[in-house]
């Protein structure tokens, strides 16, 4: 037998919950994950970590322990998901010693998570400017501080753990700047006790570290000669336009910046899954009440079908695990999903991205970092007839580089005024020699050996 019943792609909260649930129901499960250690973004940790840096660590240790009932294929990057009976996952393992391998499974659960969503501004490609998640990953995954003097900017509640993480790692944090002014009365944190406690913890930590928290402010430019030396912070109007005369500079060597998250949809697109609009109107994989996508024998969970945090990821993961094994889920789980979705929608509404960020751009601000395309060329391409990100790519090279528009895609879509259409047949770079060599023999399931 070389075919798994279920392959889960992603070992974050969603994937782990899906695997645990499916394995508990007797399925032969593989968890295929690019990372070396399980946990995804939320439970990113160091080997030997005791969990003191983490919320919900106990939930994680339970999920991690359940991995003994499945084949955890760590460090396996899926470069293409080929639909079929069975489905085939084309993977790459290793780095300097990279080699291809193949996983076959009758059913797939996509739990590929999300990456930081960035907005461009002058100087955003200076070394020392990191995504918020990138700064967090250095701390959670390596115990490293991103820098000595840090600023955190962007929008969303995620900025808080990033700031407290930076402070705990030894950085002096000169401020957290959230471009939105979330209305305290509709602030939905209160509807979720766990989150309210978490938020209170962050607030206390900000106080303890004397970190100023400013809403309605943004870093609108970064400056430095070859590396970040200072940022310009300005007060914004409701539409995120800087209010004249409010700009001031802060000396820093590190800026952690993030404006939410973008789901990783390439594998869903390979498999032919229809996309729909997520909580904030950007594309996500469409799923039904059972977390089934529109593609045969493919389910999706976690941020792949909507950015809503770790709890929603766990709940949808478990639901996908039930559905993929043909089982009825407990009603309590469905209720939790409904509540978490309401919460996610409320969070998306309270922390939107407003159009005024475009006024931060100068003509020479890079929109596409890979192909080094400045804002002026993007505008020229729009004037020449580009109507969506594909047209922008063809007429200006925006999104044509190595990252295939993952980093600039959101901004490019806003600038051209049409949603992103993620289409990346090759989700991870693959060497021509490995591609040429043909399909490798599929991995033999170990887990749930024949009974």
């Amino acid at each position: 037998m070389t075919v798994y019943d279920i392959a889960v792609i992603g070992a974050g909260p969603a994937g782990l919950a899906a695997a645990e649930t499916a394995a508990a129901r007797g399925a032969r499960v593989a968890v295929v994950d690019a990372a070396e250690h399980p946990g995804g973004q939320f439970y990113r940790h160091r080997p030997g970590d005791d969990g003191s840096r983490h919320h919900h660590w106990r939930a994680f240790t339970r999920l991690r322990d359940a991995l003994k009932n499945v084949d955890h294929l760590a460090g396996h990057r899926v470069w293409h998901a080929e639909p079929g009976e069975p489905h085939t996952l084309h993977c790459l393992v290793g780095h300097a010693d990279e080699r291809p391998t193949t996983v076959r499974a009758q059913h797939l659960i996509l739990a590929t998570g999300a990456h930081d969503r960035s907005l461009p501004f002058p100087g955003w490609d200076l070394p020392g400017v990191l995504t918020a998640g990138g700064a967090q990953a250095l701390w959670k995954g390596h115990g490293l501080t991103a820098g000595a003097r840090a600023v955190v900017a962007g929008t969303g509640p995620f900025l808080l753990p990033v700031a407290t993480g930076l402070a705990a790692s030894g950085a002096t944090v000169h401020g957290v700047f959230d471009a939105n002014r979330p209305d305290r009365r509709v602030l939905p944190l209160a509807t979720d006790p766990a989150r309210a406690i978490e938020a209170a913890g962050y607030a206390a930590a900000l106080l303890r570290h004397r970190i100023p928290y400013r809403t309605g402010h943004a870093v609108i430019a970064a400056h430095g000669d070859g590396r970040l030396e200072e940022v310009t912070v300005a007060r914004l109007d409701r539409d995120w336009r800087p209010l004249p005369g409010t700009g001031r500079t802060i000396t820093c060597d590190t800026l952690a910046t993030g404006y939410g998250f973008t789901p990783q949809l390439e594998l869903a697109v390979h498999l032919g899954c229809a996309l729909t609009e997520g909580f904030d109107g950007t594309p996500v994989a469409a799923v039904d009440a059972a977390q089934a996508t529109t593609a045969p024998r493919v389910w999706a969970a976690g941020e792949t079908c909507g950015v809503g945090g770790a709890t929603l990821a766990i709940v949808t993961g478990a639901l996908a695990g039930y559905a993929a094994t043909g089982a009825r889920p407990p009603a309590s789980l469905l209720r939790r999903r409904a509540r978490q979705r309401r919460l996610a929608a409320a969070l998306a509404a309270a922390w939107p991205v407003r159009d005024g960020w475009k006024s931060w751009l100068t003509d020479d601000t890079l929109i596409c970092r890979c192909e080094e395309v400045p804002h002026s060329r993007v505008e020229q391409a729009i004037a020449a007839g580009a109507r969506d990100t594909r047209g922008l790519k063809l007429l200006s090279r925006t999104g044509m580089g190595r990252c295939q528009g993952r980093v600039c895609g959101y901004a490019a879509a806003c600038l051209v005024g049409a949603p992103e259409r993620p289409d990346r047949p090759i989700a991870q770079p693959v060497r021509l020699g490995d591609l040429a060599a043909g399909d490798t023999a599929p991995i033999h399931p170990r887990a749930g050996a024949d009974t």
Partner: protein, 385 residues
């Protein structure tokens, strides 16, 4: 009721490279032009192919004559257009792996030379392409083979004064009076005009039908691999002699032949497969593997180079592999400029010229009988497969 848009002497359907070329040449001839494009500039196959302007892959005959005319026109355009369209006369190198292949390649080159193509036999192709594998039987160099960036070229051509581009507008039909066109009908209004040019590429059969005519144009899918950016390692467009046979083949089955070229921007492009599978966008891993294997075979150093992305497009295929250029034989004022399959970029310039000459009553620069829309008679059954 549909509202009238501004009128034009000619309405061109499709803002791909062919529509852009037709619009440009018509405007140059003094006509006012409205371009109707349902998606965006280069939103069709022009944005999903490559930009080779080839004479090397064409057998002597009407298509080669068209290609030679087109090549001259492209060179003039590159000199006169304001923006850089990445025109590069890099030359092609066709490599034969066996003595037999070399013999037929040499015979082909002789015929091409008689038709006006510059060719040069190359005993050791590695003098021109140092990273090519050794042990090939020989090659022919085609210095005229060139390249442009088709999307940029289309956008630039469409900027010519006299052309109005309507993106996001679909041609839905025609208004005829006494068997002659008086307006083009779109989903957002009518455009009064006496002439409509169907430059809808792979969708030209659909547009012909909306106009009350019939054409046998069908999709032929192609994949291209794009590597990470490299310093210039490959200078020509390099392909194997088998390519010519594949281009000419009409079978529905998969055909691949390595066509490898470096680009000014750095990535190496590896094309291209040919398959008749309708408009199926699903990625075919076996096709990608085949393209990779053939590229590595030609250039062994590519083994360690990463493929960064891949894309696919649908070529506008016709049963006899010749484009359709000329006046419709039933609908007065309807013209066709479509069905260029895998050579639409290369053939666009001459196509534009011929259509403009036809519409203004000028003498065509070459005999267009072979491209007549009416040549298929009743539509060929399999073309609709």
């Amino acid at each position: 009721m549909v509202k009238p848009l501004g009128g034009a002497d000619v309405v061109v359907v499709g803002a791909g490279i062919v529509g852009a070329a037709v619009a440009y040449e018509c405007a140059t001839a003094g006509l006012t032009v409205a371009v109707v494009e349902r998606d965006q500039v280069s939103g069709g196959t022009t944005g999903a192919g490559e930009g080779n302007l080839l004479v090397s892959d064409k057998e002597p005959g009407p298509e080669l004559d068209l290609a030679l005319l087109s090549l001259r026109r492209w060179r003039e355009w590159a000199e006169t257009l304001d923006t850089d369209i990445e025109y590069e006369p890099k030359g092609g190198l066709v490599v034969a792996s066996t003595a037999a292949a070399l013999a037929s390649l040499t015979a082909l080159a002789e015929g091409q030379r008689a038709a006006g193509v510059e060719t040069a036999a190359v005993a050791d192709p590695r003098t021109l392409e140092p990273h090519l594998r050794d042990g090939t039987a020989g090659a022919v160099h085609y210095p005229q083979d060139s390249q442009v960036m088709p999307s940029l070229a289309a956008a630039e051509l469409l900027r010519r004064p006299g052309i109005t581009v309507h993106t996001g507008l679909t041609l839905t039909g025609l208004t005829l009076t006494g068997g002659k066109i008086t307006a083009a009908v779109t989903d957002a209004g009518t455009i009064p005009t006496g002439a409509v040019v169907n430059a809808a590429g792979t969708w030209a059969a659909e547009v012909a039908a909306r106009c009350g005519s019939e054409l046998p144009v069908a999709p032929r899918r192609g994949f291209v691999l794009v590597t990470e950016p490299l310093p210039r390692m490959i200078r020509h467009k390099v392909y194997s002699a088998d390519y010519v046979a594949n281009v000419a083949a009409g079978t529905a089955g998969l055909e691949t032949s390595p066509v490898v070229e470096g680009t000014a921007a750095g990535p190496v492009l590896i094309g291209a497969s040919r398959e008749r599978v309708g408009f199926d966008k699903t990625v075919s891993v076996p096709v990608l593997r085949r393209l990779a294997a053939q590229a590595v075979e030609l250039f062994p150093f590519l083994t360690d180079v990463q493929v960064m992305r891949a894309y696919r497009g649908f070529r506008p295929y016709t049963p006899d592999h010749l484009p359709i250029i000329g006046a419709d034989e039933t609908v007065g004022g309807l013209w066709h400029a479509c069905g260029h399959e895998g050579a639409g970029v290369g053939l666009a310039a001459a196509t534009g010229l011929l259509v403009a000459q036809g519409l203004t009553g000028g003498k065509p620069a070459l005999d267009t009988a072979a491209f007549r829309p009416g040549r298929f008679g009743r539509p060929v059954e399999e073309a609709h497969a």
